[in-house]
């Protein structure tokens, strides 16, 4: 699956290069200046990529003179690989050990933020299987000795559990980690009671708990400040096409602002409410996310999955550094990966500054 994604990406690049050549020749011949700069964005069909969809649909990229094309991938890691290899220019995905290893090799620069766990908004939930819950796994501090489903070793699920365990006083080493490769496998294993626990995004956790298929025993936001993912580009783009990166960042930030206004509006009590733009934003996001489902169903899922994004997509640099250190301490990220080198805050100021 992964290689196919990369392959199609490579094919596209080749085609794009040809096209660029042809366009270049035309431009040269006709002497037209200021042709739109072509950029390729790697994304997942997840709510977390929404600012990109909003910027594209509302013409923010066009306003900046960018001709943006979005290429879709099935999982997070190929997005990073596509950017490291030059097949795509920009991407947003979750941070993982693999991502940090790739970034540590110097090909990637993190320039902004994706999702962030915030105490005021629902983020990822900690679930216990019915079987384990009935046997007494009713709170996070009792997780010791239980099995835990994750997609892969060194994934964000692994990190979240590690950090939750640390804060909750649970010995992670006593837990049996079960890498199951995919989220559907994790859900299946939890529902059937083959694993005792997992951590999962809210729009999956809530329906599971509502359907009585599992129990929510805690929320990640209660344990950690957590920068879930980031916005990143290739090191070469930062060096050679700085103006393009700046234009992209402006458009992305406009998308983030619309996302926050449409999906993160709260009332005085901190309760999530509908704003003037909610429907407009939902309509845009629905073109990309749950596109195969009717609007009434999809909208609820999108709202459930709309996690917090910081204002102006500011990156929680301190937390990213803490994550890198956590992975490094456990040997999942090589010791020479240096966050100071692969985080570039010259486009967007870091969170809290």
């Amino acid at each position: 699956m992964r290689s196919r994604d990369l392959m199609s990406g490579a094919g596209k690049t080749a085609r794009r290069s040809l096209l660029a050549l042809a366009v270049g020749a035309t431009v040269f011949g006709a002497g037209i200046a200021n042709a739109a700069e072509k950029i390729n964005i790697a994304a997942l069909t997840f709510v977390s990529s929404s600012p990109l969809f909003i910027a594209k649909e509302k013409g923010y990229f066009d306003d900046e003179g960018l001709d943006a094309e979005i290429t879709f991938f099935r999982s997070a890691q190929p997005v990073a690989v596509a950017i490291a290899s030059g097949d795509a220019d920009f991407g947003v995905t979750a941070f993982t050990g693999g991502f940090f290893n790739l970034a540590g090799k110097g090909a990637l620069k993190v320039i902004g933020a994706q999702l962030h766990e915030d105490a005021a908004y629902d983020g990822s939930a900690i679930l216990a299987s019915n079987k384990a819950f009935d046997a007494g796994l009713t709170s996070v501090d009792k997780l010791g000795g239980h099995s835990f489903a994750l997609s892969q070793v060194g994934s964000s699920f692994h990190y979240m559990m590690g950090n939750v365990a640390e804060k909750a006083g649970v010995d992670l080493a006593s837990m049996e980690l079960k890498p199951l490769q995919s989220v559907p496998n994790m859900i299946g294993a939890l529902k059937s009671g083959q694993v005792d626990s997992m951590i999962i995004v809210p729009h999956i956790a809530k329906p599971l708990a509502n359907a009585g298929a599992a129990h929510i025993i805690g929320w990640v936001k209660d344990y950690v400040p957590y920068q879930v993912g980031g916005l990143f580009t290739s090191a070469r783009n930062v060096e050679e096409r700085r103006d393009v990166v700046e234009k992209f960042v402006r458009a992305y930030q406009k998308g983030v602002a619309d996302y926050r206004a449409g999906l993160l509006a709260t009332d005085a009590d901190g309760k999530l409410v509908k704003s003037d733009t909610t429907d407009e934003i939902l309509e845009i996001v629905h073109k990309y996310v749950y596109a195969d489902q009717p609007a009434d169903k999809a909208y609820a899922k999108i709202r459930n999955g709309a996690m917090f994004i910081t204002e102006e997509a500011k990156l929680d640099v301190q937390d990213v550094k803490a994550q890198v250190k956590w992975y490094q301490d456990r040997g999942y990220v090589s010791a020479d990966a240096n966050p100071d080198e692969f985080i570039d805050t010259s486009f967007i100021a870091p969170l809290g500054e």
């Binding site: 070793v153 980690l177 079960k178 496998n185």
Partner: protein
């Protein structure tokens, strides 16, 4: 022509005479262990040279030294033995299950009319299925624990073993079986003393294939729910882009393959000494 005359001719060759040219050259490859090891060393040396000079980027391929370091780290941390132990258990268990089942079915298909056509049809239909595609089913049937891992390997080993076994049984000379029957040997004796040893050379060469398949399937088997295992190690290293560990794991798999091949060679010599 007199004897003298013949001697004369031998002593004074005609100017047109020439020795018969030797023509049966080539088409007779011989093994050369020095060249075998030499090729390994040459490839590794070139690879290291490419890495040291920066011709091969660290992102594309870790250097042999980095791989050796990763391997050494695995050894001194003791993780390698944990991984190896878990994998060997699955390999041996899965292979034995698949092989025993394959031998039984292979013998039935090889010997009995009632089993022949249905057996051949089913095996031909199921053999080409990539076992990894059935992994989700195995997880539903056998859970995410050890049984699904054994099943993946056993399933992969089963089909080639069936095909090999009935091929081997087919190849047992009919006259030997008739001989056994003419001496009124009971059926079990015919199977045990004539068919089994007669099919053994084919079955043993099939073991080489099935053991390689078992090692190949180890990765698939350890995709789901394996905390330890060489396959799990390689998968995790791949996901983490720790390419040095990934190659180190591949090296371990390859060494495992060599060990199995050596063991089978010994088994061959022990069981087929009569050849």
């Amino acid at each position: 022509m007199s004897h003298e005359g013949a001697k004369q001719m031998a002593q004074t060759p005609d100017t047109n005479s020439e020795p018969v040219r030797f023509r049966a050259t080539g088409f007779n490859p011989k093994s050369n262990p020095v060249a075998a090891w030499g090729s390994f060393i040459l490839v590794i040396a070139l690879w290291q040279l490419g890495s040291s000079t920066g011709f091969i980027s660290e992102l594309a391929m870790p250097s042999p030294i980095a791989v050796a370091k990763a391997l050494w780290q695995l050894i001194i941390s003791g993780d390698l033995w944990l991984h190896l132990g878990a994998s060997l258990q699955r390999l041996v268990g899965g292979w034995i299950m698949g092989t025993v089942a394959g031998l039984v079915v292979g013998f039935l298909v090889g010997m009995f009319t009632w089993a022949r056509s249905p057996g051949v049809a089913l095996v031909s239909a199921l053999f080409p299925i990539p076992k990894i595609a059935l992994l989700p089913l195995f997880i539903i049937w056998f859970g995410i624990g050890e049984p699904s891992k054994f099943a993946t390997i056993a399933f992969g080993v089963f089909f080639p073993t069936v095909i090999n076994t009935f091929g081997g049984v087919d190849n047992v000379q009919r006259n030997l079986i008739r001989m056994g029957q003419s001496f009124d040997l009971p059926m079990w004796s015919v199977i045990r003393k004539i068919i089994l040893p007669g099919a053994l050379p084919t079955i043993l060469s099939g073991f080489r294939i099935s053991s390689s398949i078992a090692i190949i399937l180890l990765i698939a088997a350890e995709m789901i729910g394996a905390q330890y295992g060489i396959g799990a190690l390689i998968l995790a290293a791949g996901n983490l882009y720790q390419t040095d560990q990934l190659i180190a794991g591949v090296v371990v798999l390859s060494l495992m393959g060599l060990c199995v091949s050596w063991l089978l060679g010994r088994l061959d010599r022990w069981l087929l000494g009569w050849r």
